[in-house]
Amino acid sequence: MKGRIFNIQHFSIHDGPGIRTTVFLKGCNLRCYWCHNPESQSYLPEIGLYPARCIGCGKCVSSCPKSDGVRSAIFQNCDGCGRCVETCYTGARKQYGEDCTVDKILSEIMVDRDLYDKTGGGVTFSGGEPYMQTDFLIELLTALKSEGINTAVESAVYVNWSKIEKTLSLIDLFICDIKSADDEKHISATSVSNRLIFDNIKKLSVCANNLLLRTPVIPGFNDNYHDLSAIADFIASLPRIPKHELLPFNGSCKEQYKTLNREFKAENLTPPSRDEMERFADIFRLRGIDCAINE
């Protein structure tokens, strides 16, 4: 079976315990305006352009089946076929979205097997939304479990519970975003309702082997006492209170938006200070939640 990924990141230290390899699956059903991985959103293959790396050799234009030798046409008519990427030595053109077999991904993952064992690390599936490719995800998780490798999945859980349920026994750490308790706000910021998400989190808090909830702190959206308290109240009401992390907004992805010629709506936001983050974390800690700041 093949699945569509846009990156495999080795030596990842922010997506779960130890040294991990993070596999990014392409395609997402949310459209959060602060999204850190714009290349993850569409399921369709895309080509990113990094102008700083371009040396103007023109190989991309001559290799493009849609361009007819016209430079501007390679953007307008691009269907992500990736021929230009093959010819571009500098990495000025980069392919987002490659269909890979489970075996190919596994062989890449197993390179760091020794480091997972030494550091209590493993493999994290992120996205996009991994549950947009549930069958593929299950195959990968099953293979890793049979090798005894620690697994983590990062999901927004805006998916049918039945999909999640099938994977639970294969996941050591379930990482799940919780962005806003206010449904209207949630819809306007992410394009989807939080009801299904909250229902799933309730179930996960009981069924998941190990659950970690994460809240991105987005200036002007949820960086206030009211919104964060509402999230904290919900977490505190769960049957089993999971661990929680606050992630400060990080604008370093703005170049990434440019490479896709896409607008970054959160471009001008200022990340919260360390002191502010500590105060926000206290909102959760006061409710007995084990809350950390993940920078």
Partner: protein, 725 residues
């Protein structure tokens, strides 16, 4: 530097003194030159003793109110120095005779220096990176040394040997006279003391300076006094650079244990003494406000001569002091091995995640084996230390001259390419390069030996020699090969640049036949002008060292193994030349003078460092750098061959398990030396823009660390480039 309130007065007093002190250079030079005129017809041994006698009488001694150590003399040595050639008075004999034995070396290599083949100065013999035999001083004291020399003198019939023994006796007595002047000064200060605390402070110094280094020390404090006194005073008056304070935890632990048992010291008091040692270097070199090479190293961990692991309470105190004080100036070289407990590695990881990059890890499993391979005795090899940056030397038995000459391997490759029209195949290109590299090395060896054979004739080192195994036994100074092991290390730079260049030539010219060698040479000579696409192809599509590519790993291992074989010649002291790869800042300097190379490196940019891959290549997985070195047999290299791992900054919670695992992984891969640089690129760029707000960022530069904002712009940019991956 971050100091607790009880330590601040120490730093303030040192700082005040070194900010304003007068090294008394002119007066001393005048006195020494008069002495030289009177005694210059004497044998050099006796002349050197006359110099020692003069200086031990004339150098002003200085004691500190806040520090219990006695070591500071006004000896013509400027603030930012640690002895050796920076001491114009102690190295007077060296300087005044330079035209006869030192200048010819530099003159012969002048055009090579201009071309960027080599970096050196008028110094074919290394006056730095040495380690005196502290163990001998601790076990028999200077008195024991004098006794041995006097006994040997009575038996000696040979004139030159008698002169050597006489000079050891005279110079050692001069040194004791100098210690006596500290005692006298302390007595005067005790007499004039305003408080009882102050009086007791100077009284303690008085009794100690009367006792050591003349006698073997009996306490932790006395043992430290012996080390610091000898390192500083002999470094100044003998003109020799002792870059290391030695294997401190191994040497000091028995004293510490005995002191604790006898109730003579508390843990806090011992910690404060260690802090004082760190603070001295930090303030003398003004490390917080400027960058100056300190060449000051402490060795910890490792093992004793019987192979017993050293990881004791003194190790822990030294690491604790480093963590608390965040010191930059002193390089803490940590010997690690597969036998050490994980707790030790976790402590080293904690220091890394606290962003104190002053440590390097050196692998006993490899370095000791490499030394034994050379034919050195196992029990001697187990006592290796490293000084300067991470240059290895066996404490008390070996005198290695080094860090005076660096050769650019990529420059030899270019010379080899340009002096041949074409090659039938890659093997003949490679053979031509190896031939040229060996011939170049031979040439340097003969030039060095030509200078070195005069060393004893012009500037012997009886005080240093008196502590080194072999000299008193043989009646020969270290300068004429008296040490048990007399080695020389010439550093070979740009190994990754060389490996990648050779692989690129093999691929482009012989495997893919993409272009002819003649065409490629013209493109390189023109710095890839109009051939940027080819350069990008080379950088991104041809495998590189450091990416754990199986073919490249074997390719690199073969080249490095061949390179190791070009050393091995005999030096003028009867010892051997060792292959070495320590870069200091010279990788930047030699790179600056070199044109573009076949690996895609642009002209006038840095060469690769130590065993690290080139910085401009793509590495998707930092662990690959460690895996790549697994293919190389580092026991071929008796000197430290360092790999740097640049990682993003991490919290201690996340970072400690990660760094600990990487240290253990490095041991499994049998690398030689390892250092980390925890860098955040955005933060460094921000620090260039607003230095005042980022004054506390410390980075590892090569064998040393420094505050980022005090580095030159060029060095800053080079470090930022490391953080891009």
């Amino acid at each position: 530097m971050k100091l607790a309130s009880d330590l601040k007065p120490i730093a303030d007093e040192f700082d005040m003194y070194y900010s304003n002190f007068d090294p008394d250079t002119d007066r001393l030079i005048q006195l020494v030159s008069e002495m030289y005129e009177d005694f210059k017809s004497q044998p050099s041994y006796l002349l050197k003793s006359s110099l020692h006698e003069l200086l031990s009488r004339e150098c002003k001694v200085k004691l500190f109110k806040e520090s219990p150590f006695f070591f500071e003399i006004s000896s013509g040595r400027p603030r930012y120095s640690w002895g050796g050639l920076q001491s114009p008075v102690g190295s007077y004999l060296h300087n005044i005779t330079a035209s006869k034995w030192l200048d010819p070396y530099a003159d012969a290599l002048a055009s090579d220096r201009a071309e960027g083949m080599i970096h050196c100065w008028n110094n074919p013999v290394g006056f730095d990176h040495h380690c005196p035999g502290y163990d001998r001083l601790h076990s028999i004291g200077v008195k024991g040394v004098i006794n041995q020399a006097e006994t040997a003198l009575k038996k000696s019939g040979e004139r030159k040997k008698s002169d050597f023994y006489t000079s050891v006796v005279r110079s050692a007595k001069a040194l004791i006279h100098l210690a006596g002047r500290f005692a006298q000064k302390a007595a005067e200060l005790a007499e004039a003391a305003e408080t009882e605390t102050e009086r007791m402070h100077y009284e303690k110094i008085r009794t100690t300076a009367e006792k050591v280094p003349l006698n073997p020390p009996e306490t932790f404090y006395e043992a430290l006094c012996t080390i610091l006194f000898f390192r500083e005073c002999v470094g100044s008056i003998e003109g020799i650079g002792f870059s290391t304070l030695g294997h401190l935890d191994r040497m000091l632990f028995p004293y510490y244990e005995a002191d604790l048992a006898a109730g003579r010291i508390t843990e806090e008091e011992a910690l404060k003494l260690i802090h004082t040692l760190f603070i001295y270097t930090e303030t003398r070199f003004n490390a917080e406000r400027s960058y100056h090479e300190t060449s000051t190293t402490i060795i910890i961990g490792g093992c004793d001569k019987n192979g017993n692991i050293i990881y004791n309470d003194v190790t822990k105190l030294i690491l604790k002091a480093l963590l608390e004080g965040r010191y930059v100036g002193t390089k803490v070289n940590c010997r690690i091995s597969s036998k050490h407990p994980r707790e030790y590695f976790r402590k080293l990881a904690e220091i890394q995640t606290a962003n104190i990059p002053s440590i390097v890890m050196q692998n006993d499993d490899v370095i000791i084996a490499a030394r034994v391979k050379l034919g050195q005795a196992l029990e001697d090899a187990r006592l290796y230390v490293s000084g300067g940056c991470h240059e290895v030397v066996l404490g008390g038995t070996e005198v290695n001259t080094r860090a005076d000459t660096w050769v650019s391997l990529p420059a030899i490759l270019l010379r080899s390419l340009y002096s041949n029209e074409c090659f039938d195949d890659y093997q003949s290109l490679y053979a031509s390069f190896m031939h040229d590299a060996a011939a170049y090395y031979e040439r340097i060896v003969s030039l060095k030996n030509e200078g070195e054979k005069h060393w004893c004739e012009f500037d012997p080192l009886p005080l240093y020699s008196s502590t080194i195994t072999g000299c008193l036994e043989s009646g020969r100074d270290i300068t004429e090969g008296g040490a048990k092991y007399s080695s020389t290390a010439i550093s070979l730079l740009g190994t990754a640049t060389l490996i990648d260049s050779l692989y690129s030539l093999k691929t482009l010219i012989f495997d893919e036949k993409r272009l002819t060698l003649g065409e490629f040479k013209r493109i390189i000579a023109d710095d890839y002008a109009n051939y940027e696409d080819l350069r990008q192809y080379i950088i991104h599509r041809i495998p590189k060292y450091g990416t754990n590519n199986a073919v490249l790993n074997r390719f690199a291992a073969n080249i490095l193994s061949d390179i190791a074989k070009i050393a091995g010649q005999e030096n003028a002291r009867g010892g051997k030349y060792l292959p070495a790869f320590y870069p200091h800042d010279v990788f930047r300097l030699l790179g600056h003078k070199l044109g573009a190379t076949p690996d895609g490196r642009k002209a006038h940019t840095p060469l690769s460092r130590g065993a690290s891959p080139s910085e401009f290549i793509e590495i998707n997985n930092p662990a690959d750098i460690i895996r790549s070195i697994g293919a190389i047999d580092f026991t071929d290299y008796a000197d430290s061959f360092c790999t740097e791992l640049t990682l993003p900054r991490m919290s201690s919670e996340r970072g400690i398990p990660v760094i600990t695992a990487l240290i253990e992984f490095f041991l499994e891969m049998k690398g030689s030396s390892l250092q980390f640089n925890m860098l955040n690129r955005e933060m460094l760029i921000e620090a260039q823009k607003n230095p005042a707000e980022h004054a506390d960022i410390i980075v590892r530069v090569c064998g040393y660390s420094a505050y980022f904002i005090h580095l030159s712009r060029e060095t800053q940019d080079e470090i930022i480039a490391r953080a891009i991956r």
